[in-house]
């Protein structure tokens, strides 16, 4: 009942000049993602320019530990998969399935963040901080920005789960699910670049 006033959108085609608000928002979100891509591209570029400037300190080869990062990567990839399953549940109209898969997704995301924080703390503990040299400044900023995006995604999906349990599947919540899952896949794609270019290339 609470959202009965959203019903009229369904019949609003182009001819009256009304627009499908949910479609608009999805399109807007795609453009936002382009800007986010450029933001990450800038951070990657900065990292590449600076990644050999260690000012006499140890470089990527000495301080990165791949095994943990590989596990992290698997966790994040899996979470992308489960967020896909959430969308499938949505399409099947199953609220329970949807909420369930979203919960799994944010749990995996939280594990990923937990491991990243542990990695950062360990590095800092060993004396490798953002202050040490330009290479580490670039590293912490690039990877940290990705981590902040993931954390934001976790909060966002949590808020969405609450809304889903209140309102059920409506055009609005449906759009929100689509957008968060798009966002989540995007973060996954960015991570693949981080993994390949920062960690794999760094240790090789």
């Amino acid at each position: 009942m609470a959202h009965a006033h959203h019903q009229p959108f369904a019949h609003e085609g182009g001819h009256e000049g009304h627009h499908d608000l949910e479609e608009l928002r999805k399109f807007g979100f795609w453009i936002f993602l382009i800007t986010d891509c450029i933001l990450f591209a800038t951070l990657f570029a900065t990292y590449f320019v600076l990644h050999e400037n260690t000012a006499g300190g140890p470089g990527a080869k000495e301080i990165f530990e791949l095994p943990g990062v590989i596990v992290e990567t698997f966790i994040l990839l899996t979470s992308s998969f489960t967020s896909g399953l959430a969308v499938l549940a949505l399409n099947a109209g199953s609220r329970k399935g949807l909420i369930g898969w979203l919960l799994v997704t944010i749990l995996l995301g939280a594990c990923f963040i937990g491991m990243e924080v542990t990695e950062f703390l360990k590095l800092v503990d060993e004396g490798h901080t953002i202050h040490s040299n330009a290479f580490l400044s670039g590293f912490f900023t690039l990877v940290g920005t990705h981590g902040m995006h993931v954390s934001l995604g976790i909060c966002w999906i949590t808020a969405l789960i609450i809304q889903l349990s209140r309102h059920g599947i409506t055009p609005v919540t449906q759009r929100k699910v689509h957008i968060t899952s798009l966002y989540w896949h995007f973060l996954d794609a960015v991570w693949i670049f981080v993994f390949t270019f920062v960690y794999l290339l760094g240790v090789s």
Binding site: G17, I31, F32, T35, L50, A55, I130, N133, A159
Partner: protein, 662 residues
């Protein structure tokens, strides 16, 4: 008690550090700020206007009102930036003058540049976007009205944060692009630089959101029948500007964040030690900065095209080539950034590439000038103020463009680099191109915004004084630049022989100030004496915004127009004049509208709080601000009650009041 005295001492220390002291100009400003604030509070309370201010303005999501707020704020900033300019020109009027100290001069030119680019040009441009684009598209709104209001408040709070540095903490002094190492802690240990970073960062995020908003609006919300070849040319210019915005502004966001990390966490992105690379900053800032000048100037080109066609009573000549030129500029602009540092040892090949891309940009620009001239050719031209500013722009931009090409030749740049030649060039392009363009747009759309025209005779005076002042101010600077005077110079000796040219230039500066005063008078006078425009189309113009009453009703269009031509409103008028029946209008239906929301305003205050806390490195202020941002975002996300319908009766009443039968 000893403790008591030392507490008082430390409070004194704090106050003298926190507030900027020791300069009569600044005490004057303090007094002025306090008095103005008191006066505003008094007036609002006395006339019981708080509620009105809150309901009608602070919480509004109506694009027309957001546009008006942008315009008012930017004109205030034009005043502030203009006062800065006159302070500098006063200092430079005579050799060895002791009006501004060198340190103060540094702060003033930095503030002036930042103020003019970020807080005057950008918002004035966004004001025009907001006023004109939805109306030109035949749309009822922008795509994201809530976001639109948030963008405005972010700009506003960013601007306020930056302006505060004048009286609290101290202003930035590292130039409007604040190159490191000057902008690092080593070069700028005070808080001025942090004010710069956060003021620009917060308003820049607003600009980025505006870019997204208008792209979606233009791509998705055109009236039925408005194919791409029927989109009004101003709207095309906005689209190309917004494309450049979404590509360029994320780079700015990152760049500012990185300098801040250097300053706040001791990172080493651009420092001279720890492996930092200051050249990386220069690359990044110009990757944003060069597109930025086109972001600013493209919409002005759009205005000129609109005005030239309307006041020549002819179709715009070369519409297709105009669109192509604007889109290609918005792409090319991204590949020219390096011409800003030809002299920094990038190597001959790199310099050659960027010299060529820069010169290529001159071609689409030249195409446009010819299109405007051909539009005027054999047109029935009327010389009202919007047209005057357009005509004034053309010679100005031709000269500015030519000196720009001179600068783009890498070898020549070694000579002109950082001289007054450059200052004259970019002011000629920025004032003659962007500011004249926005003025033309403001005069042109003023009756649409407020329902009455601005007084023409005073406007003509303002135009001529501005224009003469402009040439008197900037022409001598080319010569004094060639004569070796460098920019950012706070004083010079009699022996240099630069006195006469500088003095002339200062006179020109004050003439422009006088021109501005004429405009203020013009507005005040017109509010009092001008008659209401009942036609909705006082210029006899061509595009859809003129087909509705002025000021436009809340919902813009009672029924959404169906577009069949490029200059649809003009064609409709021709049809009616030829005795044919006007287009049939569909019957009225309830109109779906977004509800006002206090969240953008509150959230922007939280951003301000974060910025303020981080400027002083006081996390106890910044963290509550962050929490506020998060909470307001959640509040918005959980709010499902965001829209309502205007009933048909009310639409009928509104239209009847505006003299329309529907």
């Amino acid at each position: 008690m000893r403790g008591g005295a030392s507490v008082i001492d430390s409070i004194k220390d704090f106050v003298s550090w926190f507030f900027v002291t020791g300069d009569p100009l600044i005490y004057g400003a303090d007094v002025a700020i306090v008095l103005t604030t008191v006066a505003i509070i008094f007036v609002l309370t006395y006339f019981r206007k708080w509620d009105w201010l809150w309901r009608e303005w602070l919480t509004t999501v109506d694009h027309k009102r957001v546009g008006i707020m942008y315009i008012i704020a930017s004109l205030l900033m034009l005043f502030r930036g203009g006062v800065d300019a006159l302070l500098m020109r006063t200092q430079l009027a005579f050799p060895d003058l002791k009006f501004l100290s060198p340190e103060h001069y540094n702060e003033v030119f930095t503030t002036h540049g930042v103020e003019m680019i970020f807080f005057m040009a950008m918002p004035l441009m966004f004001g025009l976007f907001n006023i004109a684009v939805p109306l030109q598209l035949g749309a009822r709104d922008v795509a994201f009205p809530f976001l639109n209001s948030l963008s405005f408040w972010l700009f506003f709070m960013g601007a306020m944060l930056f302006n505060m540095s004048f009286v609290i903490g101290g202003s930035a002094n590292a130039g409007w692009l604040s190159y490191p190492p000057l902008s690092e802690l080593t070069g700028s240990p005070g808080v001025g630089e942090d004010f710069y970073i956060w003021g620009v960062q917060i308003s820049g995020i607003g600009s980025l959101m505006t870019g997204i908003n208008f792209i979606v609006t233009i791509v998705k919300m055109r009236a039925p029948g408005m194919t791409w070849s029927r989109v009004p040319i101003f709207t095309w210019s906005v689209l190309s500007s917004c494309i450049a915005i979404i590509v360029a502004f994320p780079v700015l966001t990152v760049t500012l964040a990185l300098v801040f990390l250097d300053r706040f966490l001791g990172a080493h992105f651009f420092t001279t030690d720890g492996g930092g690379n200051a050249m990386m900053y220069v690359n990044l800032i110009w990757m944003w900065g060069h597109p930025e000048v086109y972001i600013i100037v493209l919409p002005a080109f759009g205005v000129f095209s609109e005005v030239v066609a309307a006041f020549s009573r002819k179709r715009l000549f070369g519409y297709g080539s105009m669109v192509f030129a604007m889109l290609s500029i918005s792409l090319l602009a991204y590949f020219t950034w390096l011409h800003h540092f030809f002299t920094m040892g990038s190597g001959a090949d790199v310099n050659l590439f960027f010299a060529i891309t820069t010169m290529i940009i001159a071609i689409p620009t030249g195409v446009k000038i010819f299109n405007w001239l051909f539009t005027m050719y054999r047109g029935r031209i009327t010389f009202q103020t919007p047209m005057l500013w357009t005509l004034g722009f053309i010679p100005c931009f031709v000269v500015g463009g030519m000196t720009g090409v001179m600068l783009s030749a890498a070898p020549a740049d070694f000579q002109f680099h950082n001289s007054y030649f450059l200052i004259a060039h970019f002011h000629q392009v920025l004032i003659g191109g962007a500011v004249f363009g926005y003025f033309a747009g403001l005069y042109y759309w003023w009756p649409k915004i407020f329902g009455f025209k601005l007084n023409e005779p005073i406007g003509k005076w303002a135009f001529w004084i501005w224009n003469i002042g402009f040439y008197v101010c900037f022409m001598p600077q080319y010569f004094v630049g060639l004569d070796g005077m460098t920019r950012r110079l706070s004083s010079y000796g009699w022996d240099k022989g630069w006195w006469a040219m500088n003095f002339t230039s200062t006179i020109g500066g004050f003439l422009m100030g006088l021109g501005f005063l004429f405009q203020v008078w013009q507005i005040a006078h017109s509010i009092k004496f001008m008659e209401k425009d009942t036609t909705g189309d006082p210029w006899g113009a061509r595009t859809l915004e003129w087909s509705i009453p002025s000021p436009a009703p809340l919902y813009n269009f009672a029924t959404i127009p169906v577009v069949t031509d490029r200059d649809d409103w003009w064609e409709e008028k021709e049809r009616i004049a030829a005795g044919k029946a006007p287009k049939a209008r569909p019957k009225l239906e309830p109109i779906h509208m977004p509800k006002n929301s206090p969240i953008p305003f509150i959230q922007a205050i939280c951003w301000f709080t974060v910025g303020f806390g981080l400027v002083f490195h006081w996390l106890w202020i910044a963290i509550p601000g962050f929490i506020g941002i998060a909470l307001t975002m959640l509040a918005h996300s959980f709010n499902y009650d965001t829209d309502y319908y205007i009933p048909v009766d009310e639409i009928k009443r509104t239209e009847a009041k505006a003299g329309r039968i529907v």
